[in-house]
Amino acid sequence: MKLTTTLMASTALVVAAGSAFADDHAKMADSMTVVSWGGAYQKSQQNAYTIPYAEKHDGLEVIWDESSAEAVAKLRAMDEAGSVTWDVVDVVAADALRLCDEGLAIEIDPEKDLAAAPDGTSAEEDFGELLVGDCFIPQIVYSTTFGYRTDMVPEGADAPSQICDVFDLEKYPGKRALEKRPINNVEWALLCDGVAKEDVYDVLATEEGQQQALDKLATIKDEVIWWSAGADTPQLLADGEVFMGSTYNGRLFAAIEEQKQPIGMMWDAQVFDLDGWIIPANLPEDRLKRAMDFVKFATDTQRLADQAKYISYGPARASSAPLVGQHAELGIDMAPHMPTDPNNAANTFLYNYEFWADYRDDIDAKFQAWLAQ
């Protein structure tokens, strides 16, 4: 009680003195709409970010909107209609790039807008090359990889461990679940069709290369169930409906460790991707200040490391990696389950944002036509 009184008194003094700091705080909006994906991922964000943040800022109302999947379309519609109701939006890096291109997200200056690491390393250096695009504030690293039913591995065969096992129907018969879009699938197809990792995107930029990828996919097309929602593959695996399927590593972790399903996980040529925050353009002053303040808090070293307690996605800062602890409920070490762990990251594939920004529509049109054949 006494402490708060003192605090209040000193705050009053500071305000009276017209300090820039207090001024800033006085102008911050007292409610904030955070957009995310829902589910376990959103829970991890609540635990690691918004709950501690709200504790520090009395009277702050945090509203969650689970619309990240439609974020790009909705933000564009909001912008055109002139009423942006979101303050902080969680999107994948490719969407962030798109929002930036469309002028729907504000540009971020990592030096000014993001917190430095505890040891003084600048945010720019700490995030390193994960700062893709001008508007994107990376939060986690995830990878899209394959899970398989351990009890459906053919007798006498080893558990699948290489990406090309997906395309090997003789050794590993059974259905596969692949995402119903070309991204990731065509890269894997080319990798397994003899294209070197560093040439994949050069090959994909050509008509022949695209056809080559689709031809390779055609060899397993009859055995593929195409998924479109993140929850699909774990469900298909749990049902035994597919033998193997691609999904995000966090979902496989949940199915294996939390749900105890007979599922194994492959760490080969998994596609590295990022998820993080953007702040919509054209926010009113007070809400913009609140959003910037929150994002700075939520992407500091400790907070990013905290999130890994609840979900197995790697923190985007280099300085957070050593702080990653144990799972909040299961008590298992989380570090070996991170996509950033050196053992897991031995053979990763880096998603090329620029390439997909250019070729997404074109290759998708071909992919959909190919699917419909």
């Binding site: 798109r98 930029a205 195409w226 049902d239 409906e241 250019d358 070729y359 071909k366 036509a369």
Partner: protein, 555 residues
Amino acid sequence: MADTTQSGPMLAADGSPLKRSLSRTLRRQKLRALLLIAPLLIFVLVTFIIPIVSMLFRSVENQIVSHTLPQTVEALQEWDPNSGEPPDEAVYQALFFDMFKAAEAKRHTQVGNRLNYEQPGLSSMFRGTGRSLDDMGEEFEDALVDIDPSFKTSEFWFELLSGEGADSFLKDRRAKLAAMAGESMRGDIGFAPSAKALELLPATTEAYTDFAIWTAIVEEDVVAEERPWEAVYAGLGVDLRSAEVVQQIASYDGPGAAALKAAVANIDQLPQESFRDMFAESDEDWLDTEGWRTMALYSPDYTTGYFLNSVDLQKTIEGVEARPETQQIYIKLFIRTLYMSLIITGACILLGYPVAWILANLPLRTANVLMILVLLPFWTSLLVRTSAWKVLLQQQGVINEILVWLGFVDDANRLIIMNNATGTIIAMTHILLPFMILPLYSVMKTIPPTYLRAAKSLGATNWTAFWRVYFPQSVPGIGAGSILVFILSIGYYITPEIVGGTDGVFISNRIAYHISSSLNWGLAAALGTILLLVVLALYWCYDRIVGIDNVKLGG
């Protein structure tokens, strides 16, 4: 009413001529009918029709290119797309200044995205070059500041270019900027371009005026105190490339004359590189004619491009041609959507008719209990029912498990009834069945059972009585139900997405994709417009052929 022996017009009770009285009643009836309809009509028009029409209008809109790159589009008119050569320097120069402004407003990437739908690669070309525009301008700036430090000051430029007599020029620049940025550029900017400066240094004045409008209105800064854009320096560099301008500067004695003369004296220190080379340096694809052809093709304000795309055609310089076979999909999807919706409607009639009949003819007590069975699935969320079908239909699902257990299906060859057209048809028939049963029921309820009995007692067989007496009276119900089911199924996309796999998806799935993922709203609107036209045509046919309510109500 009227006395027949009396000659003259028939009179109504109140003594007015019957004809007039009748037509007045008729008018009043019409008015009353319209008054009853009006509230809803206005409600639907305002809250639905107008927004939808404006949404569909996007299928032809294409102002983004000409608004964002106005001078480039103008300069590009001179270029012959079939020449095989990239356009000449004037186009690149115009592109630099257009893009510089667009980059300030972050609009260049939008144009890039728009053009990228037609030609992959343009998106990153615009994005990448947008970043190097400042560097291009800075070369001019650095050179000029080296020659005379006064080029660095904001006052220098303000004094050099301020003046009067160029009001219509200013108005024109405001309009162009407003069109580009999509917001109003009205208001005081604290700067007026001078007609003299415009004559002497056209490119510089244009760039500075744009800068002034932008600074004052969008950034809300004082023009005279801000350092101009790099584009203004580039503008001067461009102006100084003309021998005529150099000549006129010799005799110029207005503000800033000294610095200008110094620049002329050291003209060899200014960058001599053409804008074409600078663009090529930033991305060599700028020399490629394909991108320019696309830009020329999509520069008009309105385009048929989206509609052509939605019927698997494409626009080229030579004219309209078919898309490569690897990209043809929409016609197929349209046909599939209509075909599968028809099957679903047929299945609903087959399953719904007997049930509706039973409900309408059983004693009310039993019928109401059975009605609960119809309403229950209807009360259950569409999403839940779709997931339920997933649980039932998949290969490890309930139906397959039972069949395998009973030995009718071999474990290795389980039925594939999901992730294909069958799955969509089964699930959607189930979901839409109540939409058939309920209208049928409400119509059958109004058919008196005595008609059937009368027919039979007159000697009709059961079948004749049904087919000639009962069925025709139930047709409005079939019509209402079919229209409901058919139209609803055409627009569905969540169920096909979940159980349809690859050959059970509808055109709506693609529309949804273009709205929410690819952001190609123009194409989505074009596909939606076509779908809408198809439905309207079918509705019209229905009204013509069945047209039952039409005949009865004599409307």
